[in-house]
């Protein structure tokens, strides 16, 4: 198991050092600094073995977190733990920076004592931790409160405490998708996938039992055979989203993973998603689709080398969704060779600039409706060089935000039951929002 955990600043100075196992000595702290932080070359692996000691590290801005062990630990678990550790720290004191860590070092030690015991990760849900690691002492708690804390930390529903009350029961669902594309210069899709997240913010009283439904192909097909009782329920609900791509009934989900509150065995058996949500915000599910993706933009590049000192670039972008919808924050990044001496740009819409420090022409458009087209052309002057190596022509990348889910996912319902309290599904105010963003959206040129 994890033998020790160190946090360093960018210079390699130790900010936090907690050793859990006897086989990890103080010299391990220095070994990592010398061999990884101060190493000359770029980091070649997130796992480093130095003198039979293994170091796992992640970096957040310029802070290094390193877990150390001498055993054959579960490597995936160690990284998951390090990420979790970052989440917990962020939840407590915001951004992970040298200053914040120094300011909160006592708190961090206290957290490390709680969430890692002898190197074994323990309950690390911020919701639960915040009930008893407060930096203000817990003497004031009554006996009931204490046992409530311990039963929550160790209990089946470790992520939610009992007795939550809201005057207004409300929940927000965000379907956040990032659409990834790699396209050949000829417009052939080399790979495309959507990775999506359903983020839920809930302000619900008591211990509400929730059931979430979407237009999952497997469920819809099953219902098509088995009667439409659920369909009726879905029709009543006001959650039908405003899709951008038209009338797709259902989508094929390649794979999905769920927050630990979701009952996985139930999903496996019936493909229904039921859970008691944590209070506040949580990422309910992540999913991935590869079929029938609506690609919001198409990029058509044209690069011509005119002699040895000049390049002509023309890029056309086409928006491909309902004309009534508006895409925002559009940015096209056209890489230029390292020996560029000057660039002239003409664009029909938005603003374009050559950024020498980034070796790219950046073209920004604030808004663009569906089914439109826009174009940029540029002349790039090059300095003659002796360098034999050809310019690598990195792909043209694109950023944007659209108000629909490129995967075609729609929320059909989210039902809330709280048998003990007197509010029903109808009393809950529900909001759904779809946002599609570009992930790595590249076209080779």
């Amino acid at each position: 198991m994890i033998g020790g955990l160190f946090i360093y600043n960018h210079k390699g100075e130790v900010l936090i050092s907690r050793v859990y196992r006897d086989d990890i000595g103080r010299n391990a702290v220095d070994a990592f600094r010398v061999n990884v932080i101060h190493a000359r070359q770029q980091v070649r692996s997130p796992v480093t073995n130095i003198a039979r000691t293994s170091f796992f590290h992640v970096k957040r801005s310029n802070i290094w977190l390193a877990a150390v062990t001498k055993q054959n630990v579960n490597a995936a678990m160690v990284f998951e733990f390090l990420y979790k550790m970052c989440d917990v720290m962020t939840a407590y004191f915001g951004k992970i920076s040298e200053e914040n860590i120094k300011n909160n070092f006592v708190l961090i030690y206290e957290l490390l004592d709680e969430i890692l015991d002898f190197g074994y990760p323990q309950n690390s849900e911020t919701g639960a931790l915040k009930t008893f690691i407060t930096q203000t002492g817990i003497k004031s708690q009554s006996k009931e409160e204490q046992s409530q804390i311990t039963s929550q930390v160790t209990g089946q529903i470790g992520w939610r405490r009992e007795g939550i009350k809201y005057r207004r029961n409300e929940l927000f669902l965000d379907v956040l998708e990032s659409v990834n594309l790699l396209m050949s210069p000829q417009g052939q899709v080399l790979s495309a996938h959507v990775s999506g997240r359903v983020v839920m913010k809930s302000y619900l009283s008591g211990m509400p039992e929730c059931k979430f439904g979407m237009n999952d192909k497997i469920v819809i097909d099953k219902q098509g055979k088995g009667g439409a009782s659920e369909e009726a329920a879905a029709g009543k609900s006001d959650l039908g989203g405003s899709g951008g791509g038209g009338g797709k009934q259902s989508i094929a989900i390649d794979d999905c993973t769920f927050h630990q509150c979701v009952r996985l065995s139930k999903f496996d058996a019936e493909r229904s998603i039921s859970f008691i949500p944590p209070d506040g915000e949580c990422e309910l599910m992540r999913y991935r689709t590869t079929k029938d993706i609506i690609l919001p933009f198409r990029v058509i590049p044209l690069v011509r080398e005119v002699g040895r000192t000049k390049l002509e670039v023309k890029v056309v972008i086409k928006s491909n969704f309902k004309p009534s919808l508006l895409a925002q924050k559009i940015e096209v990044r056209i890489p230029t060779p390292l020996n560029t001496s000057g660039v002239q740009v003409i664009c029909m819409k938005g603003k374009a600039k050559y950024k020498a420090s980034e070796n790219a022409i950046v073209w920004k458009i604030k808004r663009m409706a569906g089914m439109k087209e826009s174009q940029i052309s540029a002349e790039i002057e090059l300095l003659p060089t002796n360098d034999k190596k050809k310019w690598a022509r990195p792909p043209i990348s694109m950023n944007f935000e659209v108000p629909f889910a490129p995967s075609g996912l729609k929320v059909r319902y989210l039902k809330v039951f709280e048998p003990k309290l007197n509010y029903s599904d109808h009393d809950v105010i529900k909001w759904v929002r779809y946002i599609g963003r570009s992930g790595i959206y590249e076209t080779r040129c």
Partner: protein
């Protein structure tokens, strides 16, 4: 809330100030002081001098302060054990506190204080906490047992904590169960044989129930523990798989990977024709792909594991090629791993896509990545024949870029393509030759030279090209020198008239001016070949080469099986067994995949399956060690050909114009060589017996061929050579402070020898080796000292052969052939025991007179007769008899009754015991029956084992 100020105080006299503040009456000031102490401790300053003052602050009702003091205690208690005792009282008191959080804190901290006296006081509070009413305290206490075990294992056993811990597996609270499982698994690892976890269907059921309810971390502990279980049959295996599959949808990648591990392992037991088997295969792909959208570090772990999974079960991900395409922003470690997997998944169906990708990658910036991409193109060509042409033209395009390292890498892979498709792409040679000057890496130079030598007849100026390399012969690396030597010899054999001078030049450079023994020996071998029989030389040097196989860099099957059992862990990231990087007793256990017990294939008994490590997977492709090892086959080639050259100096050199020139210088050389090697009659036989067909794959280490040669040379006078068991590891490095001993026993020319391989895996030099045996059944004792004359440096290996006598003290051992050995060096004395094949004790004069045999057979009472079966032996009686004779088991008579051969044999042991045997061999039946008769029937079992070993090897 600005605690950062504590990091900045660095002035002198600080300790005194802190001391004063710690003893202050004001609570706030005390707390501030303790914080300063902790900050100093963090940055590495020694503040242990403040121990008593800090411990004095422990008695407080301020929990924050208490935790800080505890933190200090954990750090320094070991250096101040006497004073740490002062804290015990507070701990014991805290364990009784009404607040469960404080009880847990006390027991948690106490377990981290590694001071013997404190652990004694820990037992009572721990016992109470294990049975505490509050689950939070119980789950903390469960981990504490593991802590205590790490400090004092005996104490934990004596106090009965292990049983209490086992009870906690049935606890009502899932988190308690998970921690108990984690603690037990850890303790069990250091007691490999104690059936501590006692996994049985009932306890497995409990674990599976808890799996649905506990935290993500708990699920990982439980799944990792489940992976150690071996289900009884395929039904149980399937039902566990069914309950584990829902975990594949968990958001935590570690849960997913651990579930994959359990499934991959238990799947082994499912019959392949089962519907569920197919369903499971399909279910595995999507979660593995999803892992690739995790953070880069986790992607790396996932990719290393996918690399294993793809090798074990390629069908799972065969349609998922696209997800492994490299993204521009991927960190380099992710890029390299993806590339590896792309090649493994490349097939005829997707090759066009893959090639287009690889071509893109070859223009990237990172040198390592580009090299690997170029190499990958070559591997595709070899793997998918249909794509070879396209690959070659892609490589030529890349060569045109003139980027130095791309060109070199391309040439290396083109050489491999030539090996796979001889005489197909020679048109590109001209292009390659243009780039001769830009090659500065040995591997690329060697590859180019090989190409020139191999196709010398089609390259007009081959001699000029090779000559140009010859100028700086001594500055080249060995790899290039060896290659150049071979290439010039090839050239000479193809164009003898023009290149005489060249070949002489290279031979004299190699034999006279070089210090490298490999180079010299190869030079001599060529020289002698050329001078004795040029026709034979041509046959040898220009022999048709075996094609190289398609899969490269595969992990060896047994290691792969072990690594599959370690999915998700560091071992799977390093692709090394845990024993390679874990110190001490942990992780020594080699994990294995369970054997298939499905109804259709149930003939294999499970024991056999286990012993063979799951045996080799179906149609395991042979392995090329690495790209650069082409030399390996050249050496093999030199050793294996069917020549029976005698030591006669050649007179047949007339066929070639240059022979008189060579011959003169060779006379003396051949003479000495003949004396050294050819002098032994076994040598000729050795060559004669060597396989006439080239080994089909290159995976035999080069040394193997040489080893065989020497074995044959040593076994003078033996028709077949005695059976020598393969070397096994007797003393693993971790048990002997870095000294690894492996070895075997052999009988050579009537002398019993213990052949040892000593490897120093420690960091320091080892000297002063000595060896001693305990008394044993046959009085074996070292006949001389252990000959390790030079100190053994780190990572060095030495082979020693120790002659043994049989006149030592005798004591009957169990088993009979057990030998206990002590080896001493400058570090310590180490003990191990090993078993020797009793055939080492069979003496050469063991052939009994026929009459005596008959009389003795009758004389020995029938009670002393034992019968054994030898299964699966496909030798005929003649061959069997010959083979046995090599190990001094002599056939005295043979009788054939109704198609059944009865062989009568005798054996004499070194202590004078006679063993008589009757071996029944029936033509066409692979099962032999053997009856052994001996006055000392104890030895029969051992003798039988020898029969089996000899006949099957």
């Amino acid at each position: 809330m600005t605690d950062s100020k504590y990091f900045t105080t660095t002035k002198k006299g600080e300790i005194f100030e802190l001391k004063a503040e710690l003893n202050s009456d004001k609570k706030e000031k005390k707390k501030e002081a303790v914080k300063k102490v902790i900050a100093s401790m963090t940055v590495g300053k020694d503040v242990s001098a403040l121990f008593p003052d800090v411990v004095n602050c422990m008695q407080t009702d301020n929990l924050e302060l208490k935790k800080l003091v505890y933190l200090y205690l954990m750090n320094y208690a070991k250096s101040q054990p006497d004073m740490a005792i002062m804290a015990v009282n507070t701990f014991v008191k805290d364990c009784e506190d009404p607040n469960p959080l404080i009880r847990a804190l006390a027991v948690r901290t106490m377990g981290c204080i590694r001071v013997d006296k404190i652990t004694e006081y820990l037992c009572e509070p721990l016992r109470k906490c294990l049975k505490d009413e509050d689950p939070y305290v119980r789950k903390t206490a469960a981990v504490c047992v593991a802590k205590l075990h790490d400090i004092n294992a005996q104490l934990v056993e004596d106090q009965g904590f292990l049983d209490t811990l086992k009870d906690l597996i049935s606890d009502s609270n899932p988190m308690v169960v998970a921690n108990a499982v984690a603690a037990l698994s850890e303790i069990a690892e250091s007691h490999p044989n104690s059936n501590l976890l006692d996994l049985n269907p009932q306890s497995i059921n409990k674990l599976l129930t808890a799996l649905n309810e506990c935290t993500e971390w708990g699920q990982i502990f439980i799944l990792d523990c489940l992976a150690n279980y071996t289900p009884r049959d395929d039904r149980e295996s399937q039902s566990i798989c069914e309950r584990v599959t829902p975990r594949l949808s968990h958001a935590n990648s570690a849960v997913v990977l651990s579930a994959v591990k359990v499934l991959m392992k238990f799947m082994e037991m499912l019959p392949k024709d089962l519907d569920y088997y197919g369903t499971l295969l399909k279910k595995l792909a999507p979660p593995l792909v999803t892992l690739l959208s995790a953070e880069p570090e986790l992607q790396y772990v996932a990719l290393r594991n996918i690399n294993l999974i793809v090798q074990k079960r390629p069908e799972i991900l065969k349609h998922e090629m696209k997800v492994f395409f490299v993204k521009y922003n991927d960190p380099i470690y992710v890029k390299l791993e993806k590339l590896d997997i792309m090649i493994r998944l490349a097939s005829q169906a997707n090759i066009a896509q893959v090639l287009a990708e690889l071509k893109e990658y070859a223009t990237e910036v990172d040198v390592d990545f580009v090299r690997k991409a170029v190499r990958a193109i070559g591997r595709c060509a070899i793997k998918v024949e249909q794509s070879a042409e396209r690959c070659v033209s892609t490589l030529l395009d890349l060569i045109q870029t003139k980027v130095n390292y791309v060109v070199q890498e391309a040439i290396v892979v083109i050489k491999d393509i030539f090996r796979k498709y001889p005489n197909k792409y020679e048109s590109v040679i001209a292009t390659l030759c243009e780039n001769l000057d830009s090659l500065d890496e040995p591997e690329a130079r060697a590859a180019m030279i090989w190409i020139v030598g191999e196709y010398a007849e089609r390259i007009d100026n081959a001699d000029e090209l090779l000559e140009s390399f010859l100028e700086g012969f001594h500055d080249e690396s060995t790899q290039v020198q060896l290659q150049l030597l071979t290439a010039i010899v090839k050239l000479f054999l193809k164009k003898p008239t023009e290149t005489q001078e060249l070949v002489q030049q290279v031979l004299s450079l190699a034999t006279q001016d070089s210090d490298n023994p490999d180079l010299r020996d190869r030079g001599y071998i060529y020289w002698r070949l050329l001078s004795t029989d040029p026709v034979a030389a041509k046959e040898v040097v220009l022999a048709e080469k075996p094609l190289i196989s398609e899969e490269t860099d595969l992990i060896e099957p047994t290691l792969l099986e072990e690594l599959i059992c370690h999915i998700g862990t560091l071992a799977s990231v390093y692709h090394k067994p845990p024993s390679a990087f874990v110190e001490g007793s942990r992780g020594v256990m080699h994990k294995r995949l369970p054997a298939r017990t499905g109804s259709g294939e149930g003939t294999e008994c499970p024991d056999v399956g286990n012993a063979a490590g799951g045996s080799a997977p179906e149609a395991a492709p042979s392995i090329i060690p690495s790209q650069g090892d082409l030399l390996g086959d050249l050496l093999n080639l030199d050793l294996a050909p069917p020549t029976t050259t005698g030591p006669t100096p050649s007179t047949s050199g007339m066929q070639m114009g240059g022979m008189d020139l060579l011959g003169g210088g060779l006379e003396s050389l051949v003479g000495t060589l003949g004396g050294d090697i050819g002098g032994s009659p076994a040598m000729g036989a050795g060559f004669g017996a060597a396989p006439a067909v080239m080994p089909a794959s290159l995976n035999a280490p080069v040394g193997g061929g040489l080893g065989d040669l020497f074995d044959l040379g040593g076994g003078v006078g033996m028709p077949m050579g005695a059976y020598i068991p393969p070397k096994t590891v007797w003393l693993p490095a971790m048990k002997a402070k870095g000294l690894e001993i492996s070895g075997t026993f052999a009988r050579r020319a009537g002398v019993i020898q213990m052949e040892l391989v000593l490897t120093n895996k420690a960091m320091s030099v080892m000297t002063d080796f000595a060896i001693q045996f305990n008394r044993n059944s046959f009085g074996l004792a070292p006949a001389g000292p252990l000959q390790v004359l030079t100190p053994l440096g780190p990572n060095q290996t030495i082979e020693v052969s120790l002659p043994l006598s049989t006149v030592g003290p005798v004591m009957k051992m169990d088993p009979l052939n057990n030998l206990q050995v002590a080896v001493k060096n400058n570090i310590d004395v180490f003990y191990f025991s090993c078993q020797y094949p009793i055939s080492m004790l069979f003496v050469e004069d063991g052939k009994m007179e026929r009459q005596v045999f008959l009389a003795t057979w009758k004389d020995i009472p029938n009670d002393n007769e034992s019968q054994f079966q030898i299964q699966d032996c496909h030798l005929n009686s003649e061959a069997a008899s010959n083979k046995l004779q090599g190990s001094n088991i002599f056939t005295i008579a043979k009788r054939t009754v109704e198609g059944q051969d009865m062989l009568y044999m005798s054996i004499k042991l070194s202590n004078g015991i006679w063993v008589l045997a009757e071996l029944k061999v029936q033509a066409g039946n692979p099962n032999y029956t053997i009856s052994l008769k001996c006055r000392a029937p104890e030895v029969s079992q051992c003798v039988f084992q020898c029969y089996e070993a000899v006949l099957k090897n």
